[in-house]
């Protein structure tokens, strides 16, 4: 009886290990975890998307997706600042300043990537513009997917999360903060 229970527990642990996404290490040349985001990634500066890098991506990854979200805002939260998916598995990150022109080509290393619709209702990165009062947290979440899902353009964060459900084999994030002072 005891051995049967142990076997069942071991099987459960093995199953959990198989289903829990592998932790991806996310970093950035310009963002520092839990530190204030540089102005250039906000509308107080050039409002360009930050460069990201990642490692420890599962070997079986077929494509990646990134979402930037602010759980301190939105109705309901989070407020979404960026959605980009269809990123090739070969990519080691995202370069800075992904084009805001829908007609512009994606950088070669992420050719084929698509920017989805943010909370600003535009398919581009728009940085933090929180109301003055308290710092907000900006989560840049990276998802590794086990299949090429051929996701169509125009997906919101909710659309994307629904589409990738059951395909996430790796996940990680870097969190930066930003606060606007009252004028």
């Amino acid at each position: 009886m005891k051995s049967a229970v142990c076997a069942a527990l071991l099987a459960g642990v093995t199953l959990a290990a198989q289903t829990a996404p592998q932790k991806i290490a996310v970093d950035s040349p310009t963002l520092r975890a839990d530190q204030t985001m540089p102005r250039d990634h906000t509308p107080d500066g050039r409002n360009i998307s930050p460069p990201l890098t990642w490692s420890n991506v599962p070997a079986s990854t077929k494509e990646l997706a990134v979402v930037c979200e602010d759980p301190d805002a939105g109705n309901p939260p989070p407020f979404v600042h960026w959605v980009i998916y269809g990123i090739p598995a070969t990519a080691k990150g995202l370069p800075e300043a992904i084009p805001i022109d829908p007609a512009a080509a994606m950088p070669a290393e992420i050719a084929g990537a698509i920017q989805g619709v943010s909370g600003f209702r535009r398919p581009i990165y728009r940085g933090p513009a929180p109301p003055p009062g308290k710092p907000h947290h900006y989560h840049f979440v990276v998802y590794a997917l086990d299949a090429n899902l051929n996701l169509k353009p125009g997906l919101t964060r909710a659309d994307l999360l629904a589409a990738i459900q059951g395909h996430v084999i790796g996940q990680g994030e870097i969190v930066a903060i930003y606060e606007r002072k009252a004028p």
């Binding site: 509308p43 107080d44 050039r46 805001i100 829908p102 007609a103």
Partner: protein, 245 residues
């Protein structure tokens, strides 16, 4: 970046209709230069123009200062851009329409333009390090998106309200009747395939229109004597003090 895609533009124009310009939106050209009003924000804009490169001769403005007019020109050029698909708000002279109309039907918006343009230029300098007119098209688009989404700072109220006001006036200046100072050479109507004002449409015209083969007659409503007479009669019944208000 094409700030408003040509496809979106055509969709919107189809909804708005080519005649969607308020009656009496413009007024006869008066040919006077705008006087300084002493407001610090306007002075700052004007100073930029004075210290800039040698300026080419320009037609006299009716209401905007030279620096404000340059800024409006730059804004409308990004809202309805000139691109591979054809001319835009620049060729339609939407800024000219706005300048004229701010002394007429849009006079109530004059102060909003004064403060909004000054705020936009100040925001451009603080966030991108340059006046709006000196930025690349991509950076100008980025600024305008920030203004549109309400993320830009320094505006009285939400910057989105100012954006919507200017966008609306840009549509009027591009697609309204040329009589009011915009839609120069029927640029806007040609852009959306509007065949021009007609007092009569024959069955053959209707068939050509449905086949998108009806060529524009490039006629304004004011090219028709009947319309002009009716307008003159209506104006004569009004108080002259209300004219253009």
């Amino acid at each position: 970046m094409t700030f408003i895609s040509r496809r979106d533009l055509l969709k919107r124009a189809a909804v708005v209709g080519a005649a969607a310009v308020p009656a009496n939106a413009g007024r006869p050209f008066q040919g006077r230069l705008n006087e300084a009003d002493g407001e610090p924000e306007r002075l700052a804009l004007r100073e930029t123009a004075l210290h800039g490169e040698a300026m080419a001769p320009r037609e006299p403005l009716e209401n905007l200062t030279a620096a404000e007019a340059d800024l409006v020109e730059a804004i409308v050029a990004r809202l309805i851009p000139t691109d591979a698909n054809g001319p835009g708000a620049t060729e339609a002279r939407a800024a000219h329409y706005i300048d004229r109309a701010l002394g007429g039907a849009l006079a109530s918006s004059r102060q909003t333009y004064t403060s909004g343009l000054a705020a936009l230029d100040k925001y451009s300098r603080s966030s991108r390090g340059k006046p709006f007119t000196e930025l690349s098209a991509t950076d100008q688009d980025s600024i305008l998106i920030d203004v549109e989404t309400g993320a830009a700072t320094g505006f009285t109220g939400s910057s989105a309200a100012f954006f919507n006001l200017v966008l609306n006036h840009t549509h009027q200046g591009t697609f309204g009747d040329p009589y009011y100072g915009g839609n120069a050479n029927f640029t806007g109507w040609d852009l959306v395939g509007y065949p021009g004002i007609r007092t009569m449409v024959t069955a053959a015209d209707q068939q050509r229109l449905e086949k998108k083969d009806l060529r524009s007659n490039h006629k304004s409503a004011y090219d028709y004597e009947a319309f002009t007479k009716a307008t003159a009669q209506n104006r004569s019944r009004r108080s002259p003090h209300k004219e253009g208000a």
